[in-house]
Symmetry: C2
């Protein structure tokens, strides 16, 4: 079964960055679109992000992605390379360069193999109705699986793809994620809905606290299926992006367990998010989950790290794993055995109630394993 969206065509291929496998993809609309996009806030954002950020973000016609080389901190050469890539895509898509979103992911600090890339791009076949599964594969780097999520909404559909399993703690969006829909949505509504969804999904995931220089998320709507209910659309997009975020966390470099931290009872949602991130990012919590150890003391420590939040009182806090309370009611030996059993699952939920007010936020992450060390100690520039 192929995953297509009416109004979009595309092509994938090898541009000479990786060895033989697909490393470039172009998806473009066949007519007018509405769109929205968000980018990393990194001070070392690369030329792909810098160029894309100044484009016509409400009417993007095309997305071109190179994987295997981030084209970051590559100076004037890198900027020229990004412009050349954008011009190629605009030419293929029949649109203005400003209507092309350029994204690149992989090694930092190494220029593209420019001549080989130019030749290979020129030799790619013409775009045709595109299988977004294949596009999801072509944007992978250290991902072990392609990440695709689809939901129907009214007579339309929304298909999201994503990549990224390391250098993941997006501050605006995840490493790379693109959602294509054939719903007809006014650009302002699409932007508002997408930003709301991004805040609860891409900005709620962290693999390793390392914010990428290349984070980019965008949605393009072709309108081919006509208008849809906007509330239903937002619900569908939230499901699509939550599914992608869970895939990113599950496939976190070296990860064996998805960790979901649900913080409730906070002063506000922002406080809940701050505490959730402190927990899901704690190396000691991550390794405890890896070891199937219900070490709730490390969760308490991570809450305690949030020293700006002086309205949190340890006496009012409640900590549980999968519904099994560990604080303030300490686990009995029987509960402890159930906790250890629970922590051997592929997905673990840590629940914290701060006992302050009604704020809530859920964040996603993964355990920390030997695999993360191996992948990142061996991955060379």
């Amino acid at each position: 079964m192929t995953t297509t969206v009416a109004g979009f065509v595309g092509v994938t291929g090898n541009a000479g960055v990786k060895d033989g496998v697909p490393d470039v993809s172009l998806v473009h609309a066949t007519g007018a679109t509405t769109s929205s996009a968000v980018f990393t806030q990194s001070l070392f954002a690369g030329p792909s992000v810098e160029l894309s950020r100044t484009g016509d973000l409400a009417a993007l016609q095309a997305v071109v992605v190179v994987s295997g080389n981030a084209n970051v901190a590559t100076g004037e050469v890198g900027l020229a390379d990004a412009r050349a890539l954008r011009d190629w895509a605009a030419d293929r898509a029949g649109c203005a360069p400003e209507q092309v979103l350029v994204a690149s992911t992989g090694v930092i600090g190494v220029p593209y193999p420019r001549q080989r890339m130019t030749e290979r791009l020129a030799g790619l076949p013409a775009a045709e109705p595109v299988d977004l599964d294949a596009v999801a594969r072509a944007i992978m780097t250290t991902d072990t699986t392609p990440k695709v999520a689809t939901r129907d909404v009214g007579g339309a559909r929304a298909v999201g793809i994503a990549k990224g399993v390391g250098m993941i703690e997006p501050d605006m969006a995840t490493m790379l994620s693109f959602v294509y829909t054939d719903a007809e949505v006014p650009a302002a509504d699409l932007d508002r809905i997408f930003r709301s969804v991004v805040a609860r999904t891409y900005n709620a995931v962290s693999v390793d606290t390392d914010t990428s220089t290349s984070d980019t998320a965008a949605i393009l709507a072709s309108g081919a299926a006509g208008p849809v209910d906007l509330v239903e659309l937002e619900a569908a997009l939230l499901e699509v992006c939550t599914a992608l975020v869970r895939m990113i966390a599950s496939d976190g470099e070296g990860a064996s367990t998805l960790i979901e931290v649900r913080v409730t009872g906070a002063r506000d949602d922002a406080q809940a998010k701050l505490v959730g991130k402190a927990i899901v990012n704690s190396p000691l919590v991550k390794t405890a989950v890896h070891g199937a150890d219900p070490n709730w003391g490390r969760v308490a420590m991570a809450i305690g790290k949030c020293t700006t939040e002086t309205d949190i009182r340890q006496e009012a806090v409640r900590i549980a794993f999968g519904g099994l309370e560990t604080y303030p009611t300490l686990p009995t030996p029987e509960t402890r055995a159930r906790l250890e059993e629970y922590l051997r699952r592929d997905e673990v939920v840590i629940e914290v109630d701060l006992g302050v007010a009604e704020g809530a936020f859920t964040v996603y992450g993964c355990d920390l394993t030997d695999g993360y060390i191996r992948i990142n100690a061996d991955y060379t520039t």
Copy 2:
């Protein structure tokens, strides 16, 4: 050779927390002292910290430390246990309970074995001139080596001891560190000097970003050797505490390499510290050092994470490893070979100049290895 300081006596022994090995130490002054102490800012600080914090910090007479159990998040029972320990130490030292600093380190969320502990403490021999090497051993938990540093200053000496190799990113002090000197120093001067030294040493080290619930650092001065030059004293204490901090980073859980990050050219020292911490705490930088990979792109990424620091411009930044520049001048193949050789050392210096102004700060950390995962996935509550 034993490491003693005039005016201090002590005893070490087993209080039944650990199996057979020394797990308790008491050091107390034989006369009046001046002193200063700083503590963790964790919201989950334990009763040892809470009790000690309200003590007579300018005239501490004794320090009692239990290792193997942090006595944290243990509720009313834990508070009563901490009081009992403090009363025992005050009785032995012949001082008021408020003049005893109590510290405890180890597992969180498990009460002390109270009855066994009471019996064992009663059976300990009387204090005598104490070998601080032995005290440094008695406060170890997952440390692989005792941490002791000594400097002479005028006719006096200062001996510092420390422990802590995980859950290390102190916000006021390291896990546990105590400095004993026979210099005669007015309490107000001692406090000012010690806080200044703490800011540049304990508050500049991070093993894993996890701020402990039990961080405590204190200095006690017996005055037995008479007055010393205060500028010389501060220099000596800075050397003692820097040496201890380097030992903590070198012995970081699973670590094989000490990482020193020297940030210069910042707007102010605070900005330099923020950027330094972002670099030394980045899992991707830590694993790159572990893999002897001169992946300066990850250093750039870590700088880029400091998104609040909008006066940092990537064009003005300079990155080097051990004096070998990697950005903006990218390494030649020959430089790259020298970089890889350099990164195989036990101690690695990463130099970053931000090109903003004259602020500077140096932070200390360590690489991230399989060992950290093994230690922390297997260490149970």
